[in-house]
C-alpha cells in the first residue's frame, strides 16, 4: 500500500470566510482526497470541497504561452519559462525606458488569500520588486471592487474599517441589511445566527430587494427595499430615533462630534481661533453661560439644538443640522422612495431604538456598490451609534485586510515594502477608464502585469476593459486557467493552486472574520503546506516574482529561495518585534504540523477613542466639504434608476442587481464542473415583469441595455421585487457575464464600481 500523507492546507479564494483550513490526503505525489481539519472541525463549503478536483482540472494551464495572433484571437504558442520571462523583462524594460515607471500597472489582487503575495499583505512580494525597480501604479492602492464605499466612509466616520460587532448570545434584534450572509458567509455565520434564534429568541429583520437565502432561512421579518434607496430608509429611521428620543444622549455628547458648532458660512467646524482664541479646539454653545466655549471647558453644558451668532458668524451644533436634515424624511416620504410600507419603517426604527441589545449586520453591504454607497453607509452606522449598537471597534491599519493584527502580515508589509516612487494612483475599478482616457487620472498606462485577478470578467463594463487591454504595449497574466482576462494577454504564465504552494494567513476560528459578528475570537495563524509539486510547468506566484526579479537583475532582493523560506524568515522577524510577544511559541514546524496555531493575543479593550481628527465619531465630516461631498449623509437616487435617469428608465425599465453566488467566489471556480452542474445561469425576475414580456419560467431570454446583452435562462419566481432583476456576478463569458451590462461609474470617494446600480430590459430570446 502506498503511503498516505496528511498535509495541512487552506482554501482562500476571497469568499465570505476568506480562508478555511483542512487537510489534503496525498498518495504517491497526488492529492487523493480532502478532509475536514481535526482541529477546527469546521467543514469547508461546497466550493472548498472541489479543490482537489480543481487542482487536476483538465483546463489547467501547464506551461507558459505566448500570443501569436492578435490580442483576443486565442492563438498561442508554447514557450519555455526562460523565454517567457525574458519577454516580460524586456517588455517591461522597454516601457520603463520609453514612458517611465508610471506607465506600468501592477495588478495583484484577492483571488487567493495566502501570503506571500496575498490580499492581507497587499501583494507585498511583487510590489517590493516593482517599487525597488522604480515604482508602478499599484491597483491595490485606491478604491476596490466591492467594499471601499463602506470602508472609506467608515474611515471618516469612526476612523476604523467598521465598528466591531460583537454578538452577545442574548442579542434581541439583528437587522441584516443589504447583505446575504447565508450564501456568502455560509461556513459558520448562518449557524451562529440560527442558534441565537433557537436558544435566545433573536429576531432577525432582512432588508433586501431580493428574497435571498438569508431572507428565506433567517428572516422573521423581510423588508423588500427598492435598490439603492437605503440612505432614504436610514434617514427616516434616524428621524424616528431623534424625534422619539430613542438615542443615547451621553453617547452623543461624549463620543460624537454632534455637539460641536458648525459655521453656516463655509460649513466648517467653528474653532476657538475663529473667534479670537488661541487654539484649534472645537467649540460648543454653552447653555449655561449662553456663549460659545471650547468643548472641553470645565462645567460647560453644550446645547445640541438652536442657531447662534458668534462674532458675526452664524453657527449651529451638528445635531441641529442633523435634525434639519432628517426632518423632511417622514415615514411617508421614505416609503415612497424605498417602496417599503411607512408603518414597517417606523416599527423597525422604534424596535431598534428600544431594544437593549441589537445589531445591524451587513458584511459588505450591497449598497456599497450603488451610486452613493458612502452616504448609505454613514447613515446606517449613525443609527448604530445613536441607539447603542456600537460596542467596540477594530483598528484600521493602512492594510485594509489586517483586521486582526497578529503581527505576521504587518511585519512583512513593514519590512519588505519600500516606498513606491510613483505617486499616481488609479481606482482599481477604473483600470480601463484610465487606459482609454489618460487625462482622467493623468496617466499614460502601457503595461499591465497581473496576478490573482480577472478584470475582463469582474470589472464593470467588460467591453471597455477589453478595448483598454487591446491598447496596451504589454499584458502579462498569470492564472490557473485561460480566463476571460488571460485571453487578452501577450504572455500567459501558468500559476498553481494553493495545494501546490506554501502560504500563510492570519485568521480566526471563523476564517478571517472581518465581516463576522464576532469580536472576542481567538486569533490564529493558518498554514498551508505545499501538498504536491506544481502540476506541469506551473509555478507558485512567489517563484514567478522571484524569476522576474532575477531577469531584471534584482535577484539579490529575493534571497528567499521559495515561499516557505520567505514565510520562515518573516516569522523570525515578527518574533523579534517586541510588539508581538504572542508569536514566541510559533515556529514553522509547528505551523506545518498543526495547520492552525492559536496566537494568544489579549482582546483589545473596547473604548471610544476614535482615530479621527476629533477623536470622536464624526457625524459631521468637514473634510468631505473640501472634497465636494455632503458633510452629512443625504439620499440621492442612484444614477441609473427610475428617478435618477427617467429617460433611460423608459427604455430600460428593470433595475439590475449583480449578486454574489454561493457556489462561486467571484469568478473563481466558475469553470469547476462539480459546481457548475448544480446550477443553470439565470436571471431572476418577478412574474409581474415576466408576464407582459411573454416570458415563462425556464425560457431563454436576452438581457440587454446600451452597453451590451447576455443570454440566460429566466427564473420567474416570487423571490424579487417587481421592477428588479438579479443576475449572479462571476459567471464566465459562456455562461453570461453580467459585467457586459454593468456600468463602471464609481461611488463617490470610496471609488468602487456601482455594480448594483444599472438598468436593463429583457426579451424572450
Amino acid at each position: 500500500m502506498p503511503e498516505e500523507k496528511l498535509v495541512n492546507v487552506f482554501c482562500g479564494p476571497h469568499c465570505g470566510a476568506y480562508v478555511c483550513e483542512f487537510q489534503a490526503v496525498v498518495k504517491e505525489g497526488k492529492v487523493e482526497n480532502l478532509r475536514i481539519h481535526p482541529k477546527t472541525k469546521h467543514p469547508p463549503c461546497a466550493v472548498g470541497w472541489t479543490n482537489a478536483k480543481r487542482l487536476y482540472h483538465p483546463d489547467r494551464l501547464l506551461y507558459p504561452l505566448k500570443r501569436v495572433g492578435e490580442r483576443g484571437d486565442g492563438k498561442w504558442e508554447r514557450i519555455s519559462w526562460d523565454e517567457a520571462m525574458d519577454y516580460v523583462a524586456k517588455g517591461l524594460t522597454e516601457v520603463k525606458q520609453k514612458y517611465g515607471n508610471e506607465s506600468i500597472v501592477l495588478y495583484s489582487y484577492v483571488a487567493h488569500h495566502g501570503s506571500p503575495g496575498g490580499a492581507a499583505d497587499r501583494s507585498v512580494t511583487p510590489l517590493r520588486l516593482f517599487n525597488l525597480w522604480g515604482g508602478c501604479i499599484h491597483l491595490f492602492d485606491r478604491g476596490n471592487l466591492c467594499a471601499a464605499a463602506y470602508w472609506q466612509s467608515m474611515r471618516r466616520f469612526t476612523g476604523t474599517i467598521h465598528l466591531a460587532r460583537p454578538l452577545p448570545k442574548d442579542t434581541e434584534l439583528m437587522v441584516i441589511w443589504s447583505s446575504n450572509p447565508v450564501a456568502t458567509s455560509r461556513r459558520i455565520t448562518p449557524r451562529t445566527i440560527m442558534e441565537s434564534k433557537e436558544q435566545y429568541g433573536l429576531k432577525v429583520v432582512v432588508i433586501d430587494p431580493q428574497f435571498t437565502e438569508t431572507a428565506a432561512l433567517l428572516a422573521d421579518e423581510y423588508l423588500p427595499i427598492r435598490p439603492g434607496t437605503d440612505a432614504a430608509l436610514a434617514l427616516a429611521w434616524l428621524r424616528v430615533i431623534i424625534a422619539e428620543g430613542l438615542y443615547k444622549k451621553d453617547v452623543v455628547l461624549n463620543h460624537t462630534n454632534a455637539l460641536f458648532l458648525v459655521r453656516s458660512d463655509n460649513g466648517k467646524m467653528l474653532r476657538e481661533k475663529d473667534v479670537g482664541g488661541p487654539s484649534d479646539k472645537y467649540m460648543v454653545w454653552d447653555a449655561k453661560t449662553q456663549q460659545a466655549r471650547t468643548f472641553d471647558t470645565a462645567g460647560v453644558e453644550p446645547a445640541l439644538t438652536g442657531s447662534q451668532t458668534v462674532k458675526g458668524i452664524t453657527v449651529k451644533p451638528v445635531w441641529q443640522r442633523l435634525i434639519e436634515l432628517v426632518e423632511p424624511w417622514t415615514a411617508a416620504k421614505a416609503a415612497e422612495a424605498t417602496g417599503l410600507p411607512a408603518e414597517s419603517i417606523v416599527n423597525l426604527a422604534r424596535e431598534f431604538g428600544r431594544k437593549k441589545s441589537k445589531i445591524q449586520f451587513f458584511p459588505i453591504p450591497r449598497f456599497n456598490t450603488t451610486s452613493y454607497g458612502e452616504y448609505a453607509s454613514i447613515a446606517s452606522e449613525m443609527i448604530n451609534v445613536l441607539s447603542g449598537g456600537i460596542i467596540g471597534r477594530m483598528v484600521m491599519r493602512e492594510n485594509p485586510h489586517a483586521h486582526i493584527d497578529v503581527g505576521f502580515h504587518a511585519t512583512h508589509f513593514d519590512t519588505q515594502v519600500v516606498p513606491n516612487p510613483v505617486s499616481k494612483k488609479v481606482p482599481v475599478g477604473h483600470l480601463a477608464e484610465a487606459i482609454l482616457n489618460p487625462k482622467r487620472y493623468g496617466t499614460n498606462i502601457k503595461a499591465l502585469y497581473l496576478f490573482r485577478a480577472n478584470p475582463v470578467n469582474q470589472h464593470a463594463s467588460t467591453q471597455k476593459t477589453i478595448e483598454a487591454l487591446k491598447k496596451l504595449d504589454l499584458v502579462v497574466v498569470a492564472d490557473l486557467f485561460m480566463s476571460a482576462t488571460a485571453q487578452y494577454a501577450d504572455i500567459v504564465l501558468p500559476a498553481c493552486t494553493y495545494l501546490e504552494r506554501s502560504s500563510i494567513r492570519e485568521a480566526s476560528p471563523v476564517g478571517v472574520g472581518g465581516w463576522t459578528i464576532y469580536y472576542d475570537l481567538p486569533r490564529q495563524l493558518y498554514y498551508c503546506d505545499k501538498a504536491v509539486e506544481p502540476l506541469g510547468e506551473s509555478k507558485d506566484d512567489y517563484d514567478i516574482t522571484r524569476l522576474l526579479a532575477q531577469k531584471l537583475g534584482m535577484g539579490q532582493d529575493y534571497p528567499w529561495r521559495n515561499a516557505e523560506e520567505w514565510i520562515a524568515d518573516n516569522l523570525e522577524k515578527a518574533k523579534e518585534n517586541p510588539k508581538y510577544p504572542w508569536l514566541k511559541d510559533v515556529t514553522i514546524d509547528r505551523l506545518k504540523r498543526e495547520g492552525i496555531v492559536d496566537v494568544p493575543i489579549p482582546t483589545p479593550p473596547i473604548d471610544w477613542n476614535m482615530p479621527t481628527p476629533s477623536g470622536r465619531v464624526e457625524f459631521y465630516n468637514e473634510e468631505l466639504i473640501d472634497m465636494g461631498y455632503e458633510p452629512l449623509p443625504v439620499y440621492l437616487p442612484p444614477r441609473e434608476s427610475p428617478e435618477g435617469s427617467p429617460e433611460l428608465y423608459k427604455k430600460y425599465p428593470l433595475q439590475l442587481l449583480t449578486s454574489k453566488f454561493k457556489l462561486r467566489p467571484n469568478s473563481s471556480y466558475g469553470n469547476q464542473p462539480e459546481l457548475r452542474e448544480m446550477y443553470t445561469p439565470d436571471v431572476l425576475m418577478n412574474p409581474e415583469d415576466a408576464a407582459p414580456r411573454g416570458i415563462k419560467d425556464g425560457d431563454k431570454v436576452t438581457v440587454f441595455n446600451d452597453r451590451g446583452q447576455i443570454h440566460l435562462k429566466a427564473s420567474v419566481k416570487e423571490a424579487i421585487r417587481p421592477g428588479v432583476v438579479r443576475i449572479y456576478q462571476g459567471q464566465w463569458p459562456a455562461d453570461g457575464n453580467v459585467n457586459l451590462l454593468s456600468s463602471d461609474e464609481l461611488t463617490l470617494y470610496g471609488e468602487n464600481p456601482t455594480y448594483n446600480t444599472g438598468l436593463v430590459n429583457i426579451r424572450k430570446a
Binding site: P44, A46, P190, R191, M194, A216, L217, K662, N686
Partner: protein, 202 residues
C-alpha cells in the same frame, strides 16, 4: 434488536449550500452529473414579499423494506441485517440500472455507466466502523443533519423539534424511510424520478 440508523433533517437549518453534496462526491468519487444526496429548493411559495422558501435534503433512506433490493434481480443491492444499511455488492451488479432506479421513490441511485456499476449512499460505513459520523453530517455547515441510532434519535432531536412531531417523506410508498424531517407540512412538491412526486410531508 439489531441496530438501525436514522437521521433528522432540520429543515429550519438547511441553507442549500451543497457542502454535503460536494463532500460526498469528493470523498466517494461519485461520477460527474450524479449525486448520492440531493438538496431540492422548495418555493418560493406565496406572493412576494410574503413568501417562504426552503431546502430539502434527501439521500438514500436506507428503507426498512427497500424496494430497490426487491427489484434487483442479481442480489447486488442488499440490506445488511446487522444495521439495516442498504449497499451495492458491485461484483454482482450487472448494470441493468433501470430496474432498481425505477423502484426507488427517492432518486437515491447514481449509476456509473463507465464502470457499469450501480452506486449509492453507503451511509459512510467505513466511518461508522471507526465510530465517526457520515461525512454529510460532519460537513453540514449549519448542523442541519442529526445522525444516530434510531432508538437514540428522539433524544437527539428533542432540542430541535421541541416536541413537534417529525415527518417522513413519501410514506405512502410503504418503504419505511429512515430520514425524518422536522418542518410543518408546507413543503409543496418535490419531483421524484419519472414523475413520481414527493407529496407534502405526511
Amino acid at each position: 434488536m439489531p441496530t438501525r440508523y436514522g437521521m433528522l433533517v432540520d429543515l429550519k437549518r438547511c441553507i442549500g449550500c451543497y457542502s454535503c453534496i460536494m463532500a460526498c462526491k469528493q470523498d466517494h468519487g461519485v461520477v460527474a452529473g450524479k449525486r448520492w444526496n440531493r438538496v431540492t429548493t422548495v418555493g418560493p411559495i406565496g406572493k412576494f414579499p410574503n413568501v417562504r422558501m426552503h431546502y430539502v435534503y434527501t439521500q438514500c433512506m436506507h428503507c426498512e423494506k427497500p424496494p430497490c433490493v426487491e427489484a434487483c434481480p442479481t442480489g447486488a443491492l442488499y440490506k445488511r441485517p446487522e444495521d439495516g444499511i442498504v449497499l451495492v455488492d458491485e461484483s454482482k451488479c450487472r448494470a441493468c440500472f433501470d430496474l432498481c432506479e425505477d423502484a426507488c421513490p427517492y432518486k437515491a441511485l447514481a449509476r456509473d455507466t463507465a464502470r457499469g456499476k450501480q452506486t449509492k449512499c453507503t451511509l459512510c460505513v467505513e466511518r461508522l466502523e471507526k465510530g465517526e459520523q457520515p461525512l454529510c453530517v460532519q460537513t453540514c455547515v449549519t448542523q442541519a443533519l442529526i445522525f444516530g441510532k434510531v432508538q437514540d434519535l428522539p433524544k437527539l432531536m428533542e432540542p430541535r423539534t421541541k416536541g413537534v412531531p417529525t415527518h417522513r417523506l413519501l410514506t405512502d410508498q410503504g418503504t419505511g424511510p429512515g430520514l425524518e424531517y422536522n418542518k410543518d407540512p408546507e413543503l409543496g412538491t418535490i419531483k421524484g424520478r419519472r414523475g413520481k412526486v414527493y407529496t407534502d410531508v405526511t
